[in-house]
């Protein structure tokens, strides 16, 4: 078991290092950042000065290790566009993104899992069909399209809810809907099929024959066995939610890191984009790691193995 944890942790660290290396190489190979910053030219001396200030005149290997050391100490360089430390820019926007993400994840679980469970219990009923229809909508309506439709209906026509920015709980409603429909639909569909796999099995009949109540059979026996798949699904949705947040934040002018990253990408402000991508990569890798490690907590069969 210890060995399993160690191997997984090392693999996660290697993944992060690998992604960082690729991003670093891309940022140095595909063009000269000085060109992007001084689009109108600039004289040679100014260029050299700028190059020196950014540390771009050092050998590549040295730049690489300096950047890693910087990342570890929280010094991720200075934004070209905002002329402020990248870490400050992220720190002040982190809360907005995390609150939105947390609410979306909560809504995804609260709607997705029960919907999937009921659809599986009433297999082939109207509710089941509706859930499956909903799940098709989940992967055929892009989140920015959904966001725009919601703004059109609820903000512009019915004038019920604000179309952007933050402030009151009402500001959460539309972005949360736009972001959670797809993951909730995914969770519902996959929970349904995970539970359907379990429901046909003999040990449930056995539990019923022992006289266990139906609710106990479902929650204690069936759902517990489907739980591993459900946790995997939820973990995967977190990555999806993080990816979706960039788009939805932009649609609703949400002052989080998503809007920051997109605007910086448009300005070719690569220190910001670089840092943003690393934050995302680290979070997704950490989530995947936690999901993998949680299997053993959930499933005694895995716990016994080395």
């Amino acid at each position: 078991m210890k060995r399993y944890v160690a191997v997984r942790v090392i693999k996660a660290l290697l993944t992060v290092l690998f992604v960082w290396t690729v991003v670093f190489i891309l940022s140095r190979v595909t063009g000269d950042p000085v060109d992007w910053m001084l689009q109108s030219g600039g004289d040679m001396r100014a260029r050299e000065q700028l190059r020196h200030n950014l540390g771009l005149d050092l050998p590549l290997a040295q730049q690489y290790f300096r950047a890693i050391a910087g990342m570890l100490t929280g010094d991720a360089g200075t934004s070209f566009y905002y002329a402020r430390p990248v870490s400050d820019l992220f720190a002040e926007r982190m809360t907005a993104t995390l609150t939105l993400g947390a609410v979306v994840f909560g809504v995804t679980i609260l709607f997705g899992v029960p919907l999937g469970v009921f659809a599986a219990l009433r297999h082939n009923s109207v509710l089941d069909r509706l859930t499956m229809g909903f799940s098709v909508a989940g992967y055929t309506v892009p989140n920015f399209v959904l966001g725009i439709l919601l703004i059109f209906i609820f903000s512009l026509h019915l004038k019920l809810l604000p179309s952007g920015s933050v402030g009151t709980p009402a500001h959460f409603v539309l972005p949360v809907i736009a972001m959670s429909v797809a993951p909730a639909a995914n969770v519902a569909r996959l929970t349904r099929s995970a539970l359907l796999d379990v429901i046909g099995q003999d040990f449930l009949e056995c539990a019923r024959a022992k006289g266990a109540k139906e609710s106990r059979v479902i929650f204690k026996h069936a759902l517990r066995n489907a739980l591993i798949s459900v946790v995997t699904i939820l973990g995967a949705q977190l990555g999806y939610i993080i990816g979706g947040s960039v788009v939805v934040e932009t649609v609703f002018a949400w002052p989080g890191i998503g809007t920051l990253i997109v605007n910086s990408a448009k300005q070719r402000d690569f220190p910001v984009v670089q840092f943003g991508v690393m934050i995302i990569c680290i979070s997704v890798t950490a989530i995947n790691l936690l999901v993998d490690l949680s299997y053993s907590a959930l499933d005694p069969r895995i716990r016994g193995r080395d």
């Binding site: 891309l26 892009p142 993080i242 990408a265 070719r268 995302i280």
Partner: protein, 285 residues
């Protein structure tokens, strides 16, 4: 495997046939747009800006009205669909090619090759596709070529895994040993035996991921990190129309609906194909 091909001819449900036909119609008409409706996308006419569409004002000569720069929305919609389809399909071809090469190499090779290739695939899956697009747009500039590369780069791991799995399953089956013993060349073994045996799952995966690629392209273009005006794609049109939604809602809503229709056609056909070609999965759904 041969049996699957027979099965597919046994009849296509009317709904799927309808979806396929409408998708082909959209694809053909939009691909022929420069022949059917030759216009210069850069031409603007501010006198004609924001004219109403036919369904608002039946007298209007413009089917879907004009946009904020006085351009005919219906024509632009065709050009936008054309760009979105061309870019997504080119990206898809790149992804399939990369995935095939990596998958076969990694499935036939053992040990280190396989391990490192799978590590790269895993690593790539730890960055959401939109972010790979954002990084590439920052580093290489936002344009059509970057978008194609992004699609190829984000798409290949899925294909590589699929091909690798299939190749590993069949590489030791005796008919391949046999043809090797008979002196068949490596390319011949690859095309005749391996490729024909992994064709069905590959077709399913390709169809399903085409939807994801169209989604990625339109998302990047919507964010301003894909196709740049005056060129247009569906995402660009949604983003341009967004600012005029109070009075001229159709500017954003019509291209949005085109995206939804395309994705729906592709995903429903893809689901059906999967059920048809991959009977093992059917019971799960």
């Amino acid at each position: 495997m041969k049996q699957n091909k027979i099965k597919i001819r046994r009849g296509i449900p009317p709904l799927i046939l309808f979806l396929m036909a409408t998708f082909l119609l959209i694809a053909i008409v939009s691909l022929l747009a420069p022949v059917l409706f030759p216009v210069d996308l850069k031409d603007t006419d501010l006198m004609l800006r924001l004219k109403p569409p036919k369904f608002v004002d039946p007298q209007s000569p413009y089917l879907f009205g004009t946009d904020s720069l006085g351009r005919d929305v219906a024509t632009r919609l065709l050009y936008a669909t054309r760009t979105s389809l061309i870019i997504s399909v080119s990206g898809m071809l790149l992804a399939v090619l990369l995935g095939l090469v990596v998958g076969v190499v990694s499935g036939l090779g053992r040990g280190a090759v396989d391990l490192s290739l799978m590590f790269v695939t895993d690593a790539e899956l730890s960055v959401p596709t939109t972010f790979i697009g954002i990084v590439c747009a920052t580093m290489m500039g936002a344009n059509a070529l970057t978008t194609i590369i992004v699609i190829g780069v984000t798409g290949w791991p899925g294909f590589a895994r699929l091909v690798r799995g299939q190749v590993m399953q069949i590489r030791n089956i005796s008919f391949i040993e046999c043809s090797r013993a008979l002196g068949a060349s490596k390319p011949r073994i690859f095309f005749e035996h391996i490729l024909s045996n992994i064709a069905s799952p590959l077709i399913v995966q390709t169809t399903v991921s085409l939807g994801a690629f169209i989604l990625l392209e339109s998302t990047l273009s919507y964010l301003g990190l894909g196709i740049q005006p005056p060129e247009t794609s569906l995402g660009v049109m949604v983003s341009e129309g967004r600012d005029y939604m109070l009075q001229n809602w159709w500017l954003a809503i019509i291209p949005s609906l085109v995206i939804v229709v395309l994705l729906m056609q592709i995903s429903l056909v893809g689901d059906w194909l999967r059920d048809r070609l991959d009977p093992q999965l059917k019971s799960k759904r």
